[in-house]
Point group: C2
Chain length 248, copies 2
């Protein structure tokens, strides 16, 4: 017994409409051109940690899947981020963004300056996918349903407002416009097929809400640390540091 498939999809989409991080003030600030160069850099440093952990999350998922066909369908997510012989991959593309905003890419890649709250949120997501039922692990990935909207807005907003923004520095987002819809179409239909009781639908919806929390918490952490009045925690990146020479 469960609400129909169409109603359940509507319920999932409603979670995005209410809780996705495109509603966060930091997102608005970034896309409207209101961020200082250092605030953009803080975002690049912290969001890198999320990007870099995504293939580990996907591998954790695959380590629990005993169906070779499902593993094969999932594998391209890791390739999208880590790259292949033909494609540098999303992590390398993100580091091009780091270059473009004048950050030392080694520092960004080291993840040393990441805010503790970012780490906690991202690590909670990796653990969730490693430990919770597969249905909930896949449901948590469905924030990708809402991602193309934010990536398109991001490209437009960044291009309009920031000098560093060009085809190369924003290539991560352009690529995700192609990759995410393929992934999410698979994930959505997998979840809709399997959440065939009210209990499973509730669990899948809760997993998607959890994931919106993971994303929201990252922007909250950035806002608290780097938007006036800024409260930068010990060990986190200090504006103006770890820049490549010649960067203002």
């Amino acid at each position: 017994m469960s609400a129909g498939r169409a109603n359940f999809e509507k319920r999932l989409r409603q979670i995005g409409a209410e809780r996705y991080h495109d509603k966060h003030p930091f997102h608005q600030l970034l896309h409207s051109g209101g961020c200082t160069p250092d605030q953009v850099r803080a975002w690049v440093i912290n969001r890198f940690y999320y990007q870099a952990r995504i293939p580990m999350k996907d591998a954790a998922f695959m380590s629990r899947v005993d169906d070779p066909a499902l593993r094969r369908a999932w594998r391209s997510r890791i390739e999208d981020h880590d790259g292949t012989d033909e494609d540098e991959g999303g992590i390398a593309r993100w580091l091009r963004l780091a270059d473009a905003v004048g950050l030392d890419r080694q520092y960004v890649a080291s993840a040393r300056g990441v805010l503790p709250a970012t780490r906690f949120a991202v690590d909670a997501y990796v653990r969730f996918v490693r430990d919770e039922p597969l249905l909930e692990a896949v449901a948590a990935s469905l924030t990708e349903l809402f991602a193309p909207r934010i990536h398109a807005a991001r490209i437009e907003g960044l291009l309009a407002h920031y000098d560093f923004a060009d085809d190369s520095s924003l290539s991560y987002f352009r690529n995700r416009l192609n990759e995410a819809p393929k992934d999410v179409a698979f994930g959505l239909s997998w979840v809709l097929d399997r959440a065939d009781t009210d209990e499973k639908q509730d669990a899948a919806a809760a997993a998607l809400e959890f994931k919106t929390d993971v994303l929201w918490a990252q922007l909250d952490a950035l806002h608290g640390a780097y938007v006036v009045p800024a409260r930068i925690p010990p060990g986190a990146w200090i504006p103006g540091t770890h820049l490549v020479s010649g960067t203002a």
Copy 2:
């Protein structure tokens, strides 16, 4: 402080010389043509469980690796087993062996008839790779150092002694002859580079011994269950069952 690199490699190879499962009586029986058709089938059913878990083990490893380059180097192991658009993969090749020995491939793929001791050993390996330090996880994979020898002997022995053996049914082993050396060259040099203290060398050697135990325990379980006097545990495959029609 540590014994030199060459000495350490020698120590690892010595573990194979003493403990690899090519010394197990069941291996001798199988390769010399001494197995009954049902004993070969029992081996196919149980060894399938190991094959099928290997990509999950490799994904568990990747889920703990924060270096994209290492993840990329490791990824081909999963592709080798799960397949790609161009290659059916090792698991599908193993199921061709199941067909060739007259077993219902759905039954084999379901893993329902696997011996509990096989499950325990294989699951212990997956858990080891998920939980132990990366050095030990990679060291455990180094039984591949000894695998080409056993695969070559297996092809020769099976071809000489069993009607089911042909290029198609043995394609799994032929492919491993190409795949395993590439993997093990990478893994061996990774371990030799990193085991730079006596303590780490001891840990890596212990991990490789553990893995030889995992393999040995699987043949022990087969021998106890299916070689006279046979003691088949409850729930495990019963000889003569789950055959495709027309199989003697």
